[in-house]
Symmetry: C2
Subunit: 444 residues, 2 copies
């Protein structure tokens, strides 16, 4: 009867702890600091740990500027992003796709419900497809970005193209520019490439593959999951665009031309789920825009993707729950499909647990940082950003105390690994031989 | 398939709109103003409407001081509180208790699930019992309060005793003292009486009656509902007491003796669910205490009571959902009782809809008041206070613009009537003759 942490998830935990440990040790070396070997700067271990965790979890929150790292240090961060991203996407895709028993560390019983539309795969082939797809998309993105960075007069445009393409597709949001992409807010080409990379990274491998097979006519229809993810993604982007365009046209976007206003409102709608680049300073947003950004950071993108958050499918189920009634079997009919009571329950529990974790995180940070006058909305913004592996910031993160940094490190880890583990936690059905009387409680 | 607003609820809406309309017109009359007939003050109609809504919904938020009203005006407010409170408690208790078909305006099909442990009642008897119980408890409270107010040197102690007893039992939180009960923070007798009135008002009629029957040995056991409500109430009070004692001992309670520190931490734990008196200024609370107060305001008290919020039973179910797995039938076993999938679904949907309403309210107020620099936590505090019919304030309410006051009036009404209507909305089960394929979406 008790919830159990799935043993499979421990592999993910072990992978991430290893990556973070090795990464943080590499990052604290003088070799990783700017100015090495002559006059190397120095960062504390807590900052190295923070940056390594942020990179592996593809969060993108930073306590120190990227310019404080040498090329070696920046490459370490890029590798951590790539490995953390591939780790998550492979692990979740495998668990989502496989019909059972193929990966030795997994239990058969946990898989059936993740079986999608009769597709069966070989794990090795899945992973190699994921790696090839990821590197392929990143390579195209890097080439395009390098070209437009060159046009924009960026030195080292090749390196900057690669770094930002990986950071964008992995939804990491790390930028070599100290003001993120604010310098390119009037460069629609670069914004478009980055947005396309973010969105494709956020759809998830299953959807990408499904779309690919549909385009190459190997399949006649997109599966239900893909349609939900694509529909929710399009709807959220459009809705967010309208919201930010409306709320910011007289604020942060007031100096922009109509074209740039559209591009930046679109970017602000895309980036919280869950890339974390910014083209306009987040602290300057109006209050309703900040609240909407927090909501979007919480929602996140598609499951089996590199992006974080509680996922668009969870929100889809939550919305369905609110507007439809279940049939006697507890299932809900939507269009020509049934959402089973099992799925409904999992989504609800996942949502509630995520909210509880978030609340605990915000309370912990409030306890540590609140007494020195940090506003609670700034705390919630940073906590949701860390939890959803977003990386947007109102500016609080670099000012955190060591204890505060520890809390955010914990939240980034919980938001990345905890949510994945949670989403795959097994619901064990048990038959009772005794029927207990109904415990009637009134809800009024 | 579509959710429907139960027609019964329209009776409640009509009752409340009538009370609010008549009340606001009476309150705006010169007769209701202090200084009448010589030099009567003047309040705007929006303030009269605000005060009438706040009284009928037993919220307790105020835009003008009680001292701006004459004895007549104050009596109007007291009557509105009493009638609004009795209206809610009668309506919800009737719907919760009755096995069906007894009240002409109700549909039989909606009743079965509110049938508690085989108890059947005559509606007229229920209402008269509710009125007698309410007036009886309030009378005892008024006598005790009058005595201790006299001891404390309050003029008009009889009138003050009656007003505060009604306001406390109805969980209204209106006070004739402009600083609420802050002047009595070192008077444990008065705090104890007020707390007992608040708690008994918040348990709900069903629990009060059950406890009474248990004490008079008419029943051998308390029913499951009563045990859950009493257990949750005791647990929440104790937990909140520890939290506030811990968070405030070096803050707002630092000047108090240990006895007064205990009494005021206890009071701060009791008052947000959902009375709204305060003994310490809420704006002076530490940030974690404010967050906890918001949480407690959201939770509220027992169903079928005068108190607001999403109710302790809903939170009970939400907690159960998070820590237990459902069996194949979708029910969850807890102790020797089953919580049915029907109850689980209702609690979840209720919780989600309440959160959505709250979010909408906060966004609306943020849109109106945010641009002039009001912090978002202050907005959330006021919105949750209005929504949960609590009445605690960080001081924002009196400063609201007319549009902001309209929003809070709407939220008070939605939190009072909307939540009741929501909680009694009917889940219509329908048999499908076609079985649709499962719409499998992945949640990871
Ligand atoms: K990110
Ligand atoms: K109240």
């Amino acid at each position: 009867m008790r919830p159990r942490f799935r043993s499979d998830s421990w592999y993910l935990v072990a992978l991430f702890i290893t990556l973070i440990s090795v990464g943080s040790i590499l990052l604290v070396l003088p070799l990783s600091q700017a100015g090495y070997p002559g006059n190397a700067t120095h960062i504390s271990y807590i900052d190295a740990l923070f940056m390594a965790t942020s990179a592996v979890c593809v969060t993108g929150l930073t306590t120190v500027d990227m310019a404080t790292f040498s090329l070696f240090g920046q490459t370490v961060l890029l590798l951590l992003i790539q490995l953390g991203g591939l780790g998550i996407i492979s692990f979740t895709s495998l668990l989502l796709i496989l019909p059972g028993g193929r990966i030795p560390f997994r239990r058969i019983s946990t898989i059936r419900s993740f079986y999608v539309d009769g597709v069966e795969y070989d794990p090795k082939k899945i992973i190699s497809t994921i790696v090839v797809t990821t590197l392929g998309i990143e390579a195209i993105g890097a080439l395009l970005l390098a070209w437009f960075f060159m046009q924009a007069g960026v030195l080292n445009y090749g390196y900057y193209g690669v770094f930002h393409a990986v950071s964008a597709f992995c939804n990491a949001g790390f930028s070599l520019f100290s003001d993120s992409l604010e310098g390119f807010s009037k460069n629609p080409a670069i914004l478009t490439i980055i947005m396309l990379l973010i969105i494709s990274g956020g759809l998830g491998f299953i959807v990408l593959q499904d779309v690919y097979q549909r385009i190459t006519r190997k399949r006649r229809y997109l599966n239900y999951h893909s349609r939900v993810v694509l529909g929710m993604t399009a709807g959220l982007i459009l809705f967010g665009f309208l919201i930010f365009f409306f709320f910011e046209s007289k604020g942060t976007l007031s100096d922009f031309s109509l074209r740039d206003r559209i591009m930046n409102a679109l970017f602000q709608s895309v980036t919280p789920r869950t890339a974390g680049f910014d083209t306009i300073p987040q602290y300057a947003l109006s209050q309703p825009s900040k609240v909407f950004t927090i909501l979007y950071m919480l929602i996140g993108a598609g499951p089996g993707s590199i992006a974080g958050g509680i996922k668009v499918t969870t929100i889809f189920i939550i919305i369905i729950l609110m507007i439809r009634y279940p049939d006697p079997a507890g299932d809900i009919r939507i269009g020509k499909h049934r959402i089973t009571s099992y799925t409904l329950n999992r989504a609800t529990v996942y949502f509630l647990k995520a909210l509880s974790l978030l609340l605990l995180g915000a309370l912990a940070l409030s306890l540590i940082e609140g007494h020195r006058g940090v506003a609670f909305d700034a705390i919630v913004f940073e906590v949701v950003s860390a939890f959803g592996t977003v990386g947007l910031s109102l500016g609080l993160t670099p000012q955190l105390s060591v204890a505060g940094k520890m809390v955010i490190i914990g939240i980034m880890f919980a938001g990345r690994i905890g949510l994945v583990a949670l989403s795959f936690s097994l619901i064990r059905a048990k038959n009772y031989d005794i029927t207990y009387p109904e415990g009637s409680v009134l809800l009024g």
